[in-house]
């Protein structure tokens, strides 16, 4: 049954009904018992009074009785001949079982009392029907007020159940009042103890929702703001293209416009990537990923940019390494790291990508993991001073004087993807100068 109220009412009302029926049956049986006792006594008294009458004949005086017409008297001679019957035509009660007996005569149940006398046998009989009717009437008279009481009880039960379940309805209406703009916690004061765990969990959920909505709003606001500059550059370059006085100017404007478009696309792509890999973003399919091939793919994608700036890209690996994660996301992570390194390294500089395993207790491994896989990317650029390292992961954070074309989202994306994979990101100085970014993954024991 799907409804608490229906279940409660069905159970309680069934109980009330059963009580009523039980009371009825018991009362009736008791009434029958008592009336039977009374009537049996009646029968015997009648037989005795008949015996005590001096003569037996037509002048027989039958005791007057309200139920007189239901009594049947038969008197037998010692030889077994019917010498008197109060109602001729009635079935003959032949068997002389002395005392009380129940007999079936002409389809009806009769109670018969037989008394042996010096002159024969006197039998007085009464149909059971009479007793049963009397017992029924008496039982009903007793039960009527009880039934009324039980009906009232049933109504009370319905009302009490409704009142008992009212807090649930109130809770439902409280939750209904919440929407994206008002996620205030539900006051636990007015609710019964049983609803407290539910209210508590609901409030916790509302808090998480409010947090997620807040983050989403902040993200959208930040993104809209950040997009203005690239889009402005785009708009301005287009206007310059229109104004270009000669072919040379037009060619230059066209080239700049192309670069501005690239930049806008890059920012939009980074924003989407970040949104997708945030904790509230789409679910990540975790599979076994071979990290070295992912790193090689990412490096291949960044090659053109590195070559353009004359930067040497070196990869140091330790063979086949497996982690649990999403290959595409990991490739994006490595790409952002290498991209950053290439942008910040001075022209003609060097970027080192290193992949290796760390044993537990080596001081660099993840706590709680037997082994870790370490990916690190180092450049010989200006580095990030220790005081700014925590903020470096903030969205849109760019150091003053930082490299061209950056969106400020690279490290934020790296951190988001790393966290989805249970990995940890850290920044430190590279030697002799520059920045080293290290990502520690829990290793799949292979």
């Amino acid at each position: 049954m799907k409804s608490i109220r229906a279940r409660l009412l069905a159970g309680l009302l069934a109980l009330v009904a059963l009580t009523a029926i039980g009371a009825g049956v018991i009362t009736y049986e008791r009434m029958l018992d008592e009336t039977s006792g009374l009537f049996d006594y009646q029968l015997r008294q009648m037989a005795l009074s008949l015996r005590d009458q001096a003569t037996i004949g037509p002048g027989l005086i039958l005791p007057s009785h309200p139920y007189g017409s239901d009594f049947v008297i038969q008197i037998w001679s010692p030889l077994g001949a019917l010498s008197y019957a109060s109602r001729p035509g009635l079935p003959v009660i032949n068997r002389a079982i002395l005392g009380y007996a129940d007999m079936r005569l002409a389809g009806e149940r009769w109670r018969v009392y037989s008394l042996e006398t010096a002159d024969g046998v006197i039998q007085v009989a009464q149909p059971w029907r009479v007793r049963e009717e009397l017992a029924s009437e008496a039982a009903l008279r007793v039960l009527a007020p009880l039934l009324l009481l039980l009906t009232t009880m049933a109504a009370a039960v319905i009302w009490i159940v409704a009142r008992g379940l009212a807090p649930l309805r109130r809770l439902a209406s409280e939750v209904e009042r919440r929407d994206a703009h008002s996620l205030a916690p539900i006051g636990a004061g007015g609710f019964p103890a049983e609803a407290a765990p539910l209210v508590e969990e609901l409030n916790s959920l509302l808090a998480r929702l409010a947090d997620a909505f807040g983050k989403q709003r902040a993200f959208v606001a930040d993104a809209a703001h950040e997009l203005r500059s690239p889009l402005t550059a785009l708009s301005l370059q287009l206007q310059l293209l229109d104004r270009a006085p000669d072919e040379a100017a037009r060619a230059q404007a066209r080239a700049k416009l192309g670069a501005a478009v690239e930049r806008a696309i890059h920012l939009a792509t980074q924003l989407l990537t970040l949104a997708r890999h945030e904790p509230e973003g789409a679910a990540v399919q975790l599979r076994t990923v071979e990290l070295e091939s992912v790193v090689r793919e990412a490096i291949a994608e960044t090659n053109a940019l590195a070559a353009a700036r004359g930067i040497e890209l070196a990869l140091e690996t330790a063979g086949v390494l497996h982690v649990r994660g999403d290959a595409d996301a990991l490739r994006i992570l490595v790409r952002n790291l290498v991209d950053n390194a290439v942008r910040y390294a001075p022209a003609g500089g060097k970027v080192e990508v290193r992949l290796r395993t760390c044993a537990a207790g080596s001081g660099t491994a993840l706590p709680g993991a037997a082994r870790s896989v370490e990916l690190s990317v180092a450049d010989n650029g200006p580095g990030i001073p220790a005081s700014e390292r925590e903020r470096a992961f903030d969205r849109f954070f760019r150091r003053p004087g930082s490299a061209e074309g950056g969106t400020g989202l690279g490290l934020a994306i790296v951190k988001a993807i790393a966290e989805r994979h249970g990995a940890r990101v850290s920044l430190e100085d590279a030697h002799p100068s520059g920045l080293r970014v290290t990502v520690l993954f829990p290793s799949l024991s292979s």
Binding site: R228, S229, S235, Q239, L240, R243, A259, G401
Partner: protein
């Protein structure tokens, strides 16, 4: 006209510079707030285009400090912040106008002219003096109603002089207007332009004040 562009985004700054130079302005580009404050203190500009989201010091701070120091150069704020509070704050900090990104180059040019006009207390954008009329918007030059053709640099010298009729501008000041910093200047370039102007407009238009500079004599 010398313009100081303070903007940390390279692409935007380059585009604005190209457009302004096409209109005959001389452009200096500064990328951060601290350098902007120094530049404003060190030399004079006719107008400043100021971005607010600058590294090292915010645009508003730079503006407030400049005003405190008595630098009255007209300033137009160009920024991505478009909410009312930011506009009010910018204008109250001492800006003469407030433009939101993305913006139209023509609108920028018109607002610049409007601000410059106000700076000299003129209602009409065109400058007139002694029968010569120039229109800063179109760089048209009319002498007694007849159009005159001037090169961009010649126009720049004429405009500089016509902005303050009667005031003497030194050769160094005129050179600054023409070239900004780091430009290659021939030592007598200004004289050459003044000579060309006299040829096209009449010898009495520009007076030489020996050892001081040039001016447009007041009638």
């Amino acid at each position: 006209m010398r313009v100081l562009v303070v903007e940390d985004d390279r692409m935007i700054a380059e585009a604005v510079r190209t457009a302004l130079e096409q209109d005959g302005y001389t452009v200096e580009w500064i990328r951060d707030g601290a350098s902007a404050a120094a530049a404003l203190g060190a030399s004079s500009f006719d107008i400043v285009l100021l971005d607010l989201g600058l590294p090292r010091r915010s645009g508003l701070e730079v503006l407030r400090e400049a005003r405190r120091r008595g630098i009255a150069t007209p300033v137009i704020i160009i920024t991505a912040r478009d909410d009312v509070q930011s506009r009010v704050a910018g204008l109250d900090a001492g800006a003469d106008d407030y433009l939101v990104k993305p913006f139209d180059l023509d609108e920028l040019a018109a607002r610049m002219r409007s601000v410059l006009r106000r700076g000299t207390g003129r209602a009409d954008s065109a400058l007139e003096h002694a029968g010569i009329r120039i229109d800063p918007a179109t760089h048209e030059v009319l002498r007694n109603g007849e159009p005159v053709t001037l090169s961009a640099r010649e126009y720049a010298v004429l405009e500089a002089l016509m902005l303050r009729p009667g005031a003497i501008l030194s050769r160094a000041q005129l050179e600054d207007r023409l070239y900004g910093w780091g430009g290659e200047i021939e030592s007598n370039a200004v004289e050459v332009y003044v000579h060309a102007l006299r040829r096209k407009l009449g010898a009495e238009v520009i007076r030489t004040v020996r050892g001081v500079g040039y001016c447009l004599p007041k009638r």
